[in-house]
Amino acid sequence: MSILIDQNTRVLVQGITGKEGSFWTQHMADMGTNIVAGVTPGKEGQLCCGAPVYHSVRNAVKAHKADAAMVFVPPKFVLDAVMESLDSGIRLIVTLADGIPLHEQAKIRAAALASHAVVIGGNTSGLIAPGKAMMGSIPYWIERVYKPGRIGIMTRSGSLTNEVTAMVVAAGFGVSTLIGVGGDPVPGARFAEFLPAFEADDETDAVVIIGELGGTMEEEVAEAIASGRFTKPLVSFLSGRTAPPGTRMGHAGAIITGGKGSVEDKTRLLESVGARVARRPREVGSLLKAALGERN
């Protein structure tokens, strides 16, 4: 078992006929993802990557009962695409685009909460259960990163995911499910919301969180541990420990304001509830070994 997706998930692709859409849909299918349909307005009746294309999500869902939507549309059309899938009853949506207007990010987040849906992204490379299914633009072929295994991974950063996950694999572990929640200031889904599913998943032994300065997602994780909603070992790596306060380096979400959101504060909170925090990417491997050894 993985969480959120596996080879049985029926995936619909919005924007399937675009350059990025068709390129990554082919990769998703090659990895074993069950692509049931695609949507591009005005192109109903075509085939793309072996999947039938429909004019609207309504038409595609009527014919194919999709359970998940993969959104490959440009940033300013993401809000509408997410609303369209929610309207058809889809409750797992992954949206990759970097550049969604902030107020639309917020509307997506509010709509996800109101519909009890999981909307992952934007500004992410998506979601993968290695060896089973992938929704996004994740380079599953890099064996020293995306090796199947028993560690759940959640991340705010694409580039750092490769760096840190390579350390997890180098230490002899592999990945059960990897979720990129994305680098936007208002992501559609947040770290702590996935912890109960990882807790329940008997194929996940521990969770690694790849976070950064700014925001409150790491604090919410600490709270989930403190309240007993998550009891498996948790290891975290947080970037931006030495970033100068108030300077925006990198993700818009990664900024410390008013003395809040510093990596130091996040570390103190996580460690106070028994999570382990690596100072360097390499330490993630040894901390995982220590945490899992202690448990067994």
Binding site: A110, T155, L160, N162, G240, G250
Partner: protein
């Protein structure tokens, strides 16, 4: 995009938020006419984007026209790359409040924040006595409802006329927040004047960068940047920040770049500049290297682990950049990801050897910068 105070106040005025009478001057010669229009005493306020202007002496009161002229002359002569000064009427203040709107990420709602104790020490108030900050979250589809405003201003401790005035202003501020696609809009201080009106004493407004296509009237020119190179990098769409160290970073991806920045500091090195050339910029190695060389670093440290931003394409760009720019400092390159197996062959003509471990690369760069190791 952070706006200057005078621009934020233009937005406020359009939204119906009272602002003091003011004139923007771009040279000391315009001071007399400006003072003539706003009256005495008046404030002279340097239009810079850095915080803490008051403490830095960049906002001062002038009681006479002569004082104003001396102040303006000193500002334009002394403040680096100052482009304008706002000459503003000095308002007779009864008390100061704090008012702001931003986005609350966990709920996906806007959040209106206020404090009965405005002024420069708001961060300290928020840190020491967070209960003094009054909050009201707003559903973006429904908008800010009258009952919410009424409850908010009452909780702020306002009564009677002040309650009505500030309440009206909250509605206007929310409309400006939405129409400007703001990530933050802040009035600190908000003056309650002796004559009983609410006036925006200062104004901060930053427009969400992803929404700039809807605000094309704002052109982000040189005054918005700390240096010529940061301006040039922004024109190329390359995230770039200058520091005063001697190790130039050329990294792909925000998270990895931040991590390399941390690792350099852990190892005792100092960063000359932060630079990302991943994502859509992975073919811009030449531009990236030119920006780095402008800081005269002792070493350039390149770290990437890309997928679509292919390692072999970046290596080709780096090779070409080295051949064209002939950097006089060594380069340490740690390239991983798609096409990495071709990198050594691509680097051969420039004699660069690919490293594959981030920490090893950082240690090597720090050792070179400190003179402990030769490239």
């Amino acid at each position: 995009m952070k706006l200057f105070e005078y621009q934020a106040k233009e937005v406020f005025a359009d939204a119906g938020i009272p602002v003091p009478k003011s004139v923007l001057i771009t040279g000391a010669g315009e001071t007399a006419a400006a003072v003539g229009f706003v009256g005495l005493p008046c404030m002279l306020k340097c239009q810079v984007l850095s915080g803490g202007r008051g403490k830095a002496g960049l906002v001062k009161l002038a009681k006479t026209q002569a004082e104003a002229e001396v102040l303006a002359a000193n500002y334009f002569a002394g403040v680096p790359s100052l482009h304008a000064v706002l000459v503003e009427e000095a308002v007779a203040i009864e008390r100061e409040l704090y008012l702001a709107l931003t986005m609350d990420a966990p709920s996906g709602r806007a959040v209106l924040m206020g404090c009965a104790e405005g002024g420069v020490e708001i961060e300290q108030v928020a840190a020491k006595t967070p209960e003094k900050i009054v909050r009201e979250t707003i559903d973006l589809d429904r908008g800010l409802q009258p009952f919410q405003i009424s409850d908010f201003v009452y909780r702020l401790g306002l009564r009677d006329d002040a309650l009505k005035q500030v309440g009206k202003l909250c509605g206007a501020l929310y409309r400006a927040f939405r129409s400007m696609d703001a990530e933050l809009i802040e009035i600190n201080p908000l003056f309650l004047t002796k004559s009983g009106t609410a006036v925006a004493g200062d104004g901060k407004l930053s427009i969400d960068d992803n929404s700039m296509f809807r605000h094309a009237a704002y052109e982000k020119g040189r005054p918005y940047y700390a240096s010529d190179m940061e301006f040039e990098a922004a024109k190329e769409g390359i995230p770039y920040i200058e520091f005063d160290g001697d190790i130039s970073l050329m990294c792909a991806g925000a998270g990895l770049a931040n991590t390399v920045y941390d690792l350099v500091n852990y190892e005792g090195g100092k960063v000359a500049n932060y630079l990302e050339f991943g994502g859509p910029n992975y073919m811009k190695a030449g531009t990236a290297m030119r920006l780095c060389l402008a800081n005269k670093p002792k070493v350039i440290l390149i770290v990437t682990f890309g997928t679509i931003a292919r390692a072999d394409v970046m290596a080709e760009g780096i090779t070409k950049a080295v051949q064209e720019l002939k950097p006089d400092c060594p380069i340490v390159a740690c390239l991983r990801g798609t096409g990495e197996e071709r990198v050594d062959e691509i680097f051969a003509p420039i004699g660069l050897k690919r490293l594959s471990d981030t920490e090893e690369a950082v240690r090597k760069a720090v050792a070179i910068a400190s003179g402990r190791e030769r490239a």
